[in-house]
Symmetry: C2
């Protein structure tokens, strides 16, 4: 293309014409530094001249320092001595909008201490990868790729891979949900699901109820959408229903959504009883405030057949949007979650999803679907419930034994939430990091951020989340002992 613009003139030396042409391209910046030139053979073909002519041309250019050759690699442009295009420095910090500023400011991964191998980290709530059933996963890959590789590797549909949607509909039915009038959208995990819902249905300044504390990623997403967050405290007995009713009354008819995680709530690890789920649903229904239910680690419920999601109370209505995910138990690296809701809600979200990234990886959806239908999934679930159950019990015992706590929250799952006695957990974390122990300080999970002074009555300041899913029993005990030692040091 570039060289086909060169019209050779019989009256001048051919090699010189080519040399001038290439020299001009370089001088005008059209052949950037280190870009590869065609080989002498190729260029002689393109221009239909003898190869010797091109060899002479390249020799000349080389001697001018405009090109250089690397043995066995080819000939490259050296434009360093050439006038560069003028400086251009866009001030991207000024370009950045408020959404990006919030997303960056609240991106704790950028500021938190880096994990090192010698660290005992109670931070991560990822599943333990060592438990993954890689053989079963491989089988599922080979199975789906042999059945429909061309389909899976080409463009799919925004709503998701149909067999996975069908599987999840059945799965939701087993949790007491109906499928009439409802539908499912596959998303890139919980995070995308929650973001899509807020993107489609909220506006800056809208009010949203949530548990306080709650999942820090959810807080971040609500804040990037500029929502006015109304936190309702979690107390000894669970969500404070009086506070809930009061907040609803104070903001009558102006609350857009309530966001809630009834099973293994993050960070407290608490499970809402069926009775309280019903009560919660009724309060929201009476006030016409749709519920976004975060299914989260619900799959780990030890007696899962008897506790149903809040969405199952909404069967003939359309007020609950349920977000499901296997990421806390299965292959989170694939990023697959789903939204179960009213058909009309799903239809709207489907178009928004298509606008965002067309669809979630069809290959991953197909592998996961095949895997879920397999016996190995049930075996895997039994195994991990046992493993995580044991870790939970052991971690609980260790905290009880070693740590001077005011309360321990946690009904199972992958973490505990502990309130210490008169300890500023930010200061504690600083000291712990020196001894290679890490945890999540409680303040990250609270929605109101009103004071920097440590108030020992303030849960924000004196709580921490201890996640144990990826630690061995030895690490759990050693880590908790270390924290206890440091607490003694600080308070002594």
């Amino acid at each position: 293309m570039l060289f086909s613009n060169l019209k050779l003139d019989d009256k001048k030396p051919i090699y010189l014409q080519i040399e001038n042409y290439i020299e001009n391209l370089i001088l005008n910046g059209l052949l950037p530094q280190d870009s590869k030139l065609p080989s002498t053979r190729e260029l002689s073909h393109i221009l239909n001249v003898s190869r010797n002519t091109i060899v002479s041309t390249y020799d000349e250019l080389r001697s001018k320092g405009l090109i250089y050759s690397l043995a066995g690699k080819g000939t490259f442009v050296n434009s360093q001595k050439v006038l560069k295009s003028k400086d251009w420095n866009v001030d991207w910090n000024k370009y950045e909008n408020n959404y990006s500023i919030t997303a960056n400011n609240l991106d704790i991964i950028k500021t938190e201490p880096k994990w090192t191998p010698e660290m005992i980290s109670f931070k991560s709530i990822s599943p333990d990868g060592e438990l993954f059933d890689v053989e079963g996963f491989k089988k599922s890959f080979l199975h789906v790729i042999s059945l429909e590789s061309h389909k899976l590797l080409n463009y799919g549909y925004a709503q998701g891979y149909l067999p996975l949607i069908q599987y999840l509909k059945k799965y939701m039915m087993e949790k007491g949900n109906v499928t009439t009038g409802k539908d499912i959208l596959i998303t890139n995990g919980f995070t995308e699901a929650f973001d899509l819902i807020l993107s489609a249905f909220t506006k800056e300044g809208d009010k949203i109820i949530c548990e306080n504390p709650t999942h820090n990623t959810s807080i971040k997403i609500m804040k990037t959408h500029n929502l006015d967050i109304l936190g309702v405290d979690i107390k000894e007995n669970g969500l404070d229903f009086d506070m809930l009713s009061k907040k609803i009354e104070e903001n009558i008819n102006s609350i857009k959504f309530a966001y809630i995680t009834p099973s293994y709530h993050n960070p407290t690890g608490r499970v809402m009883t069926p009775e309280r789920r019903y009560e919660f649903y009724e309060i929201l229904r009476e006030n016409n405030i749709p519920i976004i239910e975060d299914g989260f680690v619900e799959e780990l419920l030890y007696t899962s057949s008897h506790i149903f999601p809040i969405s199952s109370l909404d069967n003939n209505n359309n007020g609950v949007i349920y977000i499901g995910s296997f990421s806390k138990i299965l292959f989170p690296g694939m990023r697959i979650g789903w939204i179960y809701a009213d058909k009309n809600v799903i239809s709207k979200l489907e178009s928004v999803k298509r606008c965002r990234n067309i669809h979630t990886s069809f290959l991953d959806q197909a592998i996961l679907c095949d895997y879920l239908k397999n016996d190995s999934f049930e075996k895997y679930m039994k195994k991990i419930k046992k493993v995580y159950g044991n870790k939970f019990n052991f971690a609980y015992e260790c905290v009880e034994k070693y740590i001077p706590y005011e309360y321990i929250f946690g009904d199972g799952g992958l973490y505990l939430f502990v309130k210490l006695k008169n300890i500023d957990t930010r200061k504690l974390l600083d000291e712990c990091l020196k001894r290679n122990v890490m945890f999540m300080p409680g303040d990250l999970f609270f929605v109101n951020d009103n004071s920097n002074e440590c108030d020992f009555n303030d849960d924000r300041k004196t709580t921490l989340r201890l996640a144990f899913s990826r630690l061995t029993m030895e690490q759990i005990e050693e880590g908790i002992k270390n924290i206890a030692d440091i607490i003694r040091l600080i308070t002594s």
Copy 2:
């Protein structure tokens, strides 16, 4: 959990207490319709009573019609006769915000005619899945899964899978780009990349320059961000630089971005010459308007080593954000693309990406990376360049031979853009669909939508895009002949 709340009283018949308890749960909606009860054996364990007691309890409940049993499956709740929770009907159409409304209104997939197997569709610009090198792909999967399954299946990093980032940096260098001061973010394809950039750097009402016509998905995304789109016409000679300069002058200092697809522009299939790339870059640089360059099907350029992306002209500056994707040649179902830009830009976008969906599937990134490093990729590229090149030439010939055109645009790639003589292509499409032939009417690609009357001088009304990547030679000829027949019928 549910049953552990039941405190049995020695003074009353045990079976009756359990019966009342379950009955209450059902009546209060806490055990939804068709939910499974524990087996008699399980429940006798949980409550520590004899199994016969539970058998009696279930018999009683069955006779009241509150539960039913399925042989071999278990016992289930029948709450149909029970008072249902009151009706609740959220009006989601009122809840939906403008963003969702725009995304839904511009979602052409929801309104366009459905593809059927007997159809010859010139609509899709997906690669031909039959050409995919499935064996090479399988090998790459097995390779990466044996090396690092636990890592790939667990949570990864928002920026992307490091070996893929490193590969793409080298890849961008081969296209004449530098890596100093630049970085790469992996995205879920082009669509997410473009959406992330607009999400982080634009505000409602910002002005953006783009080619007119341009990619309909890009138009949709710009519109969902409420940008003020300034289209610059593509003429016989390519982008109208006079119009470009005029629009910049008219909107001096108020244009946020210019969006451009220099290689195999969609829908016109044109390739911008190096000289014109340089000229374009200089105009934008002088006016301090950052460029979003859509790499798109650049990979298909038959002489790719000699045409560099506009980003390569920006090496020591920071004014160009380049979006790359293999989706038009390789495995689009996995949704992998990338952004190459200034480090600071990538850092900001990384946090936005984390906010949206944490990261792109690490499994897919690893498979793709392994595949790209393999010999099979080069072989595959040679093969598809030949196949698509042949299809392009043949389609071009067919249009020249059969169709009364005013112009044909297309320098290669996966489609042609044709302007017809005095034919309303929307009306033509209606007729074609009756004969099972489909194409994309030109109006979908134009940014201004000012009249419904057909004006035969208006490119919007009289153009169409013919994509041939997934059609056989026979289908290409038959389809184009059919279109020609219908044109004759309409004009006669």
